[in-house]
């Protein structure tokens, strides 16, 4: 990992930042959350045409913190994840991961828009799981998991296969290693997609409505898996979801968004049980009614 992106408080890096099935058997101690970087949005503006999605948004996520973004559709939650994954470019402001800018790079003491090389370097820290899974249909499950570790991280085939097996074991799909994505259920596809993201050993994991496209009976399996991962790893996690129970379980903090602004934030118990803002109450009522 790059030398400058961790807080100076980490004398030793843990090489084991992927849960690898340790979650269930892990002793009951709070995970060490020092290896993962924090995130900072600094007056971030994002427009699509004339539609301003984020207007000078400021917020921070602590290293290893799990934050859930809630709010009505179009409030900018998914855009925040997409900006962090560099699928979109900022129109103003700066995004930081650890102490390095993501959307920009340093030139002298100025910040200029990032080039592809910088983005490539910064993306190594970030992984994302998508609503629609986005597995590669032309590859089997194993190849989906080994492609990027081999091509990007330079792992040997044996190392990549070993890592893939370990992760498939963790997500409970060891027997599907040779299957093609089209032969899997939605829930299984999403578990493979989670394993694929973790195979890159990211330090920040982005979850974009990962259970929204699943049949109701498949939602629980994926959520349980993510709970285990949250419990057994030191990843910084940002999660967009409409599943409030799940949000409550995995998050340290909930941010309520509306129209590209944070309406209110706090620990999940407080946001869900005694929201201070009318807009939050309206939103929660609408979600629970659906």
């Amino acid at each position: 990992m790059p030398p400058t992106d961790t807080a100076p408080a980490t004398p030793e890096e843990s090489s084991e930042n992927v849960p690898a099935g340790t979650a269930r058997g892990a002793p009951d101690v709070p995970p060490q959350r020092t290896d993962a970087p924090g995130i900072r949005f600094e007056k971030v503006v994002k427009r699509f045409g004339r539609n301003v999605v984020l207007r000078e948004l400021d917020f921070e996520v602590a290293p290893g913190e799990r934050v859930t973004l809630i709010g009505p559709s179009g409030s900018g939650k998914t855009t925040i994840l997409r900006l962090l994954m560099t699928l979109e470019k900022v129109d103003g402001g700066v995004i930081w991961i650890g102490d390095r800018p993501l959307s920009h790079m340093r030139r002298g003491d100025r910040l200029v828009p990032a080039n592809e090389k910088h983005l490539h370097e910064m993306r190594k820290q970030v992984g994302m799981v998508f609503q629609q899974f986005n597995l590669f249909p032309n590859m089997n499950v194993l190849r989906n998991l080994t492609e990027a570790p081999m091509r990007v991280l330079g792992l040997s085939k044996d190392e990549a296969v070993e890592r893939a097996r370990r992760l498939l074991d963790m997500v409970g799909l060891a027997d599907k290693i040779d299957a093609h994505p089209s032969q899997l259920s939605g829930g299984q596809q999403q578990r493979v997609a989670i394993a694929r993201a973790l195979a890159m050993e990211p330090k920040v994991l982005l979850l974009d409505e990962v259970t929204s496209a699943l049949d109701p009976e498949l939602v629980v399996g994926v959520q349980d898996l993510l709970r285990d991962i949250a419990r057994g790893s030191d990843l910084t996690m940002l999660c967009v979801t409409h599943e409030m129970g799940f949000a409550r379980d995995i998050s340290d903090r909930v941010l309520m968004f509306d129209q590209g602004q944070i309406v209110e934030e706090g620990p999940p118990e407080r946001i869900f049980e005694e929201p201070a803002e009318q807009r939050t109450r309206d939103f929660l009522q609408a979600v629970l009614a659906s």
Binding site: H120, R123, K124, N134, N138, V152, R196, M200
Partner: protein, 217 residues
């Protein structure tokens, strides 16, 4: 005019020779069309405006002019500029070049058809652009367009008699020569039609098989 089986038997070896030339010209031309079409498509997607606009106009120009004119140009005009090609070579290049503009369009549609999420997954996994193209996007795009590409193979096969105009003795040419010697055209030209049908039907079966195979995943 009655059908003469004896005469048919006499001219058949020449016609089969012609068919061989037709098939060779078609397959070589098709190979050029497949490769060059992809090159056009990829060049049209480069960020450089000069490159992609130039390619766009060249492709548009080739597609909008008749194959026959292009064959004449390659065979009769280019030698004036010092590039002399054999008739079959000129024919293969002409067919390939002309059809590359169609296959390019097919590839373009196939690539556009790959869901945006596939590109996004490539970015999320930090795959370099070239890898994304090579391992993820093109394999999916090509799969989707195998049937359309196969249909152009058959169309090209049926256009190959145009090579007669630049003196390639392909199937129709062979029949024409046979007829010119005896002034009997019924048998040679009919056999040409029958051979075209046979090869076209066989190719369609192959194309349908490929289609079925590539449609599985």
């Amino acid at each position: 005019m009655t059908w003469d089986w004896h005469y048919t038997g006499e001219i058949l070896p020449d016609l089969l020779d012609g068919l061989r030339v037709t098939v060779i010209a078609t397959l070589l031309g098709y190979l050029i069309a497949l490769v060059l079409g992809l090159v056009w498509t990829l060049l049209r997607r480069t960020p450089s405006r000069i490159v992609n606009q130039t390619v766009r106009w060249v492709v548009e120009f080739i597609r909008s002019t008749p194959l026959l004119v292009q064959l004449f140009f390659i065979f009769y005009v280019l030698p004036g500029w010092g590039l002399t090609l054999g008739a079959l070579t000129a024919g293969v290049i002409g067919l390939g070049l002309h059809y590359s503009t169609y296959t390019s369009e097919v590839y373009r549609a196939g690539i556009a058809d790959v869901p945006r999420g596939q590109w996004e997954a490539c970015t999320a996994l930090n795959l370099p652009r070239r890898r994304a193209w090579q391992d993820v996007i093109l394999p999916q795009a090509v799969r989707k367009v195998v049937p359309a590409l196969g249909n152009y193979l058959i169309a090209m096969f049926k256009d190959s008699p145009m090579l007669l105009a630049i003196n390639v003795v392909e199937l129709l040419g062979a029949a024409y020569h046979a007829g010119a010697e005896t002034l009997r055209y019924l048998e040679p030209i009919t056999v040409v039609g029958v051979l075209f049908v046979i090869v076209s039907v066989l190719s369609s079966i192959v194309v349908r098989r490929l289609e079925a195979r590539y449609a599985t995943h």
